[in-house]
Assembly symmetry: C2
Homo-oligomer: 185 residues x 2
């Protein structure tokens, strides 16, 4: 089965509709999806940006939200802007997702629920105790263990490595998709 690698960042707006449908679209073509969470922050910082380009360039940000409204309406998925902060801080969710993926837990479903928390339910996805913990519980995953593994030094380093691999593959935004050496943004 050919494999599509799906590179995503939990703070990223366009990653949300992509995450919601990537497995369905890929599955219909007989393609497996590998979920690869990474961090955009270090990539943006290396380009001299200390914030999302959607905040740094307001015209771009304004159109992105309108465009995202249209995309989500077409896909029939809910959209409500994060009320307290954009972009949200995706670090903790990314660490958990990476730990789940490595250990064979349902990273896809966890990731979709984090995106819904961020872009539909107006929840703080950096809140490990209530928001992320609650998602893990609902998936029958032991919260204390998952959080401990996610925040362990080995997993922290793995997320750094994953982000460095993204950079090495030429990734500069999210979502990105790779198939072998080919990059699609």
């Amino acid at each position: 089965m050919p494999v599509l690698e799906f590179w995503y960042e939990f703070a990223s707006t366009y990653s949300y509709p992509a995450a919601m449908r990537v497995e369905k679209v890929a599955g219909a073509k007989g393609v497996a999806v590998r979920w690869r969470p990474f961090l955009l922050g270090p990539i943006f910082a290396a380009q001299g940006w200390n914030d999302s380009p959607f905040n740094l360039y307001p015209a771009k940000g304004k159109n992105m939200w309108r465009d995202l409204e249209r995309i989500c309406a077409d896909l029939d998925i809910p959209l409500r802007q994060p009320p307290f902060r954009f972009p949200q801080k995706g670090l903790k969710a990314a660490r958990i997702a990476l730990a789940l993926e490595r250990e064979g837990f349902p990273v896809a479903e966890f990731s979709r629920r984090v995106y819904l928390a961020n872009f539909a339910q107006q929840k703080d996805i950096s809140d490990e105790d209530r928001v992320l913990g609650s998602i893990l519980s609902d998936l029958q995953i032991r919260v204390d263990l998952a959080v401990a593994v996610a925040n362990g030094p080995e997993n922290k380093q793995r997320l750094k490595n994953q982000t460095n691999e993204a950079i090495a593959r030429g990734i500069y935004g999210a979502p990105s998709f790779t198939v072998g050496e080919e990059l699609f943004w």
Copy 2:
């Protein structure tokens, strides 16, 4: 007949495949196209960029060229990178296109030929005498008159106004499409 406004910049890579197919795609849906050349330079400068973002951010530029190869191959249109300078200087071609559009001359065909000169034939599209003049001649348009009108103070101001209108409509890149108040990038 509903009207799609097509905002384009002759230096812009993704404007090339868009220009080559916009009338065919719109026509199939019973939509008319209004060709609206404008300049990205002043918009980029206002964002603090003194060059194309594809040059300022090399990873983005590298993927753009690969992505454009795939798009052009799908559409069966030729692609060869401008050998001497990217982006090329589109100012003179934009002035001529605007003058043609206002006077009812074939701006669509002129524009497509300028894009082919830029992205397929490796010609210098700032060369008014040979490159742009030759395209005008081939379209049975009097070169001396077209160039004189294009470079007259009224037409120069109109191109500035057109670029300011693009900014006022929230445009920040090319190609962009507007239908009434809706913007699509």
